[in-house]
């Protein structure tokens, strides 16, 4: 890991539309292993927020426990972050989202955090359609406790220590589709050109956006025989499409053959260059088929798998006021003395 970061920044660093430079989206120095895929994802999140001109302080980062869950310290230093309890990030995110519907919520989790100890909470966060981006940094192993297999490790995959995983993998993308997640994507930490537009689209999506990012563990799961090593993933990756995110009111300049455009609720758009036959990102059945087919063929299907662009998130379902609940004061919250006296009277 690097332990010194140069403080020098070019005085003419490019600024985004709201006058922030990329530096304003950086976090503390990472303490993860050199070459860790997670750091690339952190960089992609910061880059996506910079490009999308999200005010850094209007983002909240939440995580559970594990290598993945340490990363919110390493990006978006001007945002509040919360490193909570193992597998319980979804509940903390739910509470935070209920308290203030106006922030952008990033949940960062790992395969141990989401597919094992936190499976219950992961499942229910999807079911409730929180308006949040849920990033799983998926390396198929427990890095922080030195490389035990996780529940997303493929059956037959070999660990660095040489043992073979004997159990079937949980596919979070397939599960997310089944549970009704309204934005489901998979990407690879080594493919920023795909990951950054996906993160931007996920931020713009008004409901639960799941991005399962295969992120090889350079220390414990990057060996021959592992199905989540850099080499293996690069050899078996298969994209649904190329993805281009077009923010609101921005002119579309590029043109594609066989392109599909998905308009998001805020007017921004996703351009998808279809590479995969028989797949339509707004048709869940074809998305499920594409996932199953690629699995059969031993491919890792990436890109935007499924999207339901117009969706009602939890606050809409609960009919909560548009004003963030954490800003309400006594005048709207306390029923007052007269109401209490009337209640007393009814109890006599």
């Amino acid at each position: 890991m690097t332990y010194v970061r140069p403080t020098f920044r070019h005085p003419d660093l490019p600024k985004n539309k709201i006058n922030f430079t990329k530096k304003d989206y950086e976090g503390a120095l990472s303490t993860l292993c050199a070459g860790c895929g997670h750091d690339s994802i952190s960089g992609a999140i910061a880059q996506a927020c910079f490009e999308l001109s999200v005010e850094p302080h209007r983002i909240a980062k939440l995580s559970g426990i594990g290598c993945s869950s340490k990363t919110p310290a390493y990006f978006l230093g001007n945002s509040h972050g919360f490193n909570s309890v193992h597998g319980r990030m979804p509940s903390v995110a739910t509470g935070a989202y209920l308290a203030n519907r106006d922030l952008v919520y990033f949940g960062v989790s790992g395969d141990g955090d989401s597919a094992s100890i936190g499976m219950g909470q992961f499942v229910h966060a999807i079911r409730r359609n929180l308006n949040m981006v849920y990033v799983v940094m998926n390396n198929g192993c427990y890095g922080l406790t030195k490389g035990q297999d996780s529940a997303t490790a493929d059956n037959g995959s070999k660990s660095k220590a040489g043992s073979t995983n004997l159990f079937n993998a949980i596919d979070l993308v397939g599960l997310g589709l089944e549970l009704g997640a309204t934005f489901v994507a998979r990407s690879f930490s080594g493919d920023k050109t795909q990951l950054i537009p996906l993160i931007k689209a996920a931020i713009s999506h008004p409901g639960f956006a799941l991005i399962d990012v295969i992120s090889p563990c350079v220390t414990f799961n990057n060996n021959v025989g592992s199905t989540k090593s850099y080499d293996y993933v690069r050899e078996h990756i298969e994209a649904t499409s190329t993805v281009d995110f077009v923010p609101v009111m921005e002119e579309i300049t590029a043109s594609y053959d066989d392109a599909k455009e998905v308009t998001l609720h805020d007017g921004s758009a996703l351009h998808l260059q279809k590479l995969h036959q028989g797949w339509n990102p707004e048709d869940k059945l074809s998305a499920m088929n594409a996932i199953q087919n690629s699995k059969e063929k031993g491919e890792i299907l990436t890109g935007l798998i499924y999207i339901e662009p117009n969706t009602n998130a939890l606050h809409d379902v609960l009919q909560t006021t548009k004003t963030p609940l954490n800003t309400l004061k006594e005048d709207l919250l306390c029923p007052g003395v007269d109401a209490l006296e009337a209640l007393n009277q009814s109890l006599r």
Binding site: D24, A28, T31, E55, P56, H57, R58, A60, L62, A73, G77, N78, S79, H80, G81, F82, N83, S84, V85, R88, P90, S91, V92, T94, G95, A96, Y97, L98, A99, N100, L103, G120, Q121, V123, H124, R128, L314, H315, L318, Q319, T320, T321, K322, L325, N326, T327, L328, E330, L332, L333, C334, P335, G336, V337, A339, L340, L343, N344, L347, R348
Partner: protein, 609 residues
């Protein structure tokens, strides 16, 4: 066969008796029985009803016990003066539980088997099913009106004013007035049968008094839910568990009524039924971290599950309010019976060095006020606050002083920097002890574009929330948390003293629902010339007043409803008291503690002494 006896029974018991109803769960008896209790309350006589029910929806035996007490004693009393037996399943046990000289009302449609006959009690046979078969054709009506008929019969036997019952029916069926005449008629059927067959009223009876004043009848769970509405809770997350379920149900009821925009239907609150208690407390922590007042309600098994998050709340200094309606443990224990047995787990919930502020309400008014105070304390102290109530308080109606709210009251949102504060200050340090009271300042997410953000985690950070595993920094932080704990001692509610000046070398300590019977026991012992100074605990941590009270007495009895004398242990542990000085007075059979039991336990120890 030996029958339980209640000593000192006065044979003419005006406004001083216990009636127990033996019903089948799920047969509509609850509303008839509560009408009976409410009628006595309306006649100005103190009354305390208690549900004694199984963990079952339909079919098993359930009891409803009503104590009438001219002296205003609201605790449970042993010795049943009148048993209303409408459940064949439990009839033998029910006959046996009547005190010698008492009454046994039963359905005489079929003759009573001889094993149910005792010489020392009076039988009041009313052919309830027979009357219903004759009067009604619909089976559901036969079932429901049976209950109303026995209430009518009781009104004649006990001299309960018929007009009061009529009024209660009118209130109960407001908007469904068509149902009133049939119910009044059912009451009259009961009255008529008594008039034609028995000498009435009985020696136990009700006489109108003016002893209730402006008091109300309400359940503790409802009062907690209402307190949360008044305190401005906006996010409630919960998982259903007996006996706490109605806390959030009542919160929802009142929030819906008072916090819904009449035009748009938009709500100034959000309620989520979580997937489990782990998630419920996680949501509460998340919402409070983000600046909303949020709470959950649970019982012992839920507290067990919430331990990890409670610890995080303590270390990461996040407000939270948890209402624990205690029950008899464990998960497959006796979930519908009462206890005060979550004291230890609540006080020290979680791994590591953790301590939590506890509040102990003892009646519905306390539930309302202490729940509201819990939100202020949680935000002032930036820590979880646990309100420890119990099944007896939560799920039964209690006679209580009316609710009060100071119209000038402002929520104490604690130490929070605004964008303006941040703009005008130097570097923000989330865990700096700027005021010397151990309580740092916090910021809500989204406050300021470049200042005030921080990364929340347990303890591996310095005063500026920067990651470190430096031992000295860890120790410094732990010491500040200890200082905050000292600050809490002055902020939590003080204990209540029953005397202005100590009068005895003997003291007694109690809290929560043990209060009712403790007060009565103190009176009973005084009649035997045993004088006790009394202190009611309202909160943990214990402040100096608590310490002083124990110091000022030679022997102190600690009355509580658990096996291990958990409050006693907490006092010994926290105040470093010689254990021999604190004598345990315990009840842990799942039933509310009685004055009789307390008197016996204390007397036994006095004889030894």
């Amino acid at each position: 066969m030996k029958f339980p006896l209640f000593e000192n029974v006065n044979m003419t018991q005006v406004n001083d008796f216990v009636v127990r109803f033996a019903n089948v769960n799920g047969t509509g008896s609850a509303s008839a029985n509560s009408m009976f209790a409410k009628a006595i309350f309306r006649m100005g006589v103190p009354v305390t009803p208690k549900n004694i029910f199984p963990s079952n929806i339909q079919g098993l035996p359930t009891w409803y016990e009503v104590r009438v007490s001219e002296k205003g004693y609201l605790g449970r009393r042993e010795g049943i003066d009148l048993m209303v037996s409408v459940n064949p399943q439990s009839m033998l046990k029910d006959v046996q539980s009547v005190r010698s000289g008492g009454y046994f009302m039963y359905d005489s449609t079929k003759p009573l088997h001889k094993e149910y006959i005792r010489e020392d009690i009076t039988y009041l046979g009313i052919p309830l099913m027979g009357i219903c078969m004759e009067q009604y054709t619909d089976p559901r009506q036969r079932q429901l009106f049976k209950n109303i008929i026995y209430v009518g019969a009781l009104s004649a036997l006990l001299d309960i004013e018929f007009a009061v019952l009529e009024q209660l029916l009118a209130e109960q069926f407001k908007g469904k007035e068509k149902l009133i005449p049939a119910n009044v008629q059912a009451l009259q059927l009961g009255v008529k049968y008594v008039q034609e067959n028995f000498q009435f009223p009985l020696e136990i009876r009700v006489e109108r008094r003016d002893l209730v004043g402006n008091r109300i009848m309400f359940d503790g769970n409802g009062a907690c839910g209402l307190g949360a509405v008044y305190a401005g809770a906006t996010v409630a997350a919960w998982y259903p568990i007996t006996p706490s379920t109605s806390v959030v149900e009542k919160f929802e009821k009142y929030a819906k009524k008072f916090r819904t925009d009449k035009e748009t239907g938009e709500k100034n609150y959000a309620i989520v039924q979580a997937e489990d208690e782990l998630a419920a407390i996680g949501m509460v922590i998340g919402a409070n971290w983000n600046g909303a007042r949020s709470f959950t309600a649970t019982s012992g098994p839920g507290v067990s599950l919430m331990n990890e998050f409670l610890g995080l709340g303590y270390f990461a200094e996040i407000p939270a309010v948890l209402i624990d309606v205690q029950r008899t443990g464990p998960s497959t224990g006796m979930p519908t019976r009462t206890q005060q047995s979550d004291i230890t787990i609540s006080a020290y919930a979680s791994h590591g060095d953790t301590k939590h502020v506890l509040l102990f309400p003892s009646n519905p008014k306390d539930c309302f006020e202490l729940t509201a105070d819990a939100f202020d304390l949680a935000e002032r102290l930036q820590t979880p606050i646990i309100v420890l109530t119990d099944l007896d308080l939560g799920m039964n109606d209690h006679m209580s002083e009316p609710f009060e709210w100071n119209p000038e009251r402002k929520y104490d949102r604690g130490k929070v920097y605004t964008a303006e504060d941040l703009e005008n200050m130097g570097r923000f340090g989330r865990y700096l002890d700027s005021d010397g009271d151990g309580i740092p300042y916090r910021t809500y997410p989204g406050t300021h574009p470049t200042k005030g953000s921080y990364f929340t985690r347990g303890t591996s950070r310095d005063e500026y929330a920067v990651y470190t595993e430096d031992s000295a920094v860890y120790v410094r932080n732990m010491q500040r948390l200890e200082k905050k704990w000292e600050t809490a001692k002055d902020l939590v509610p003080k204990p209540y003293f029953y005397q202005e000046k100590n009068m005895s070398p003997l003291g007694v300590i109690f809290f929560g629902t043990s209060t009712y019977s403790s007060e009565e026991a103190i009176d009973l012992l005084r009649e035997q010339d045993v004088v006790l100074d009394a202190m009611q605990l309202k909160a943990f941590p214990f402040n100096k007043d608590v310490e002083q009270f124990i110091e000022d007495h030679e022997v102190v009895f600690v009355i509580e409803q658990n096996r291990d004398a958990q409050m006693r242990s907490l006092l010994i542990n926290e105040l470093e008291i010689n254990p021999k000085k604190l004598i345990r007075v315990l009840n842990y059979d799942g039933m509310p503690i009685t004055a009789d039991k307390i008197v016996k336990e204390i007397s036994k120890n006095l004889t030894i002494a």
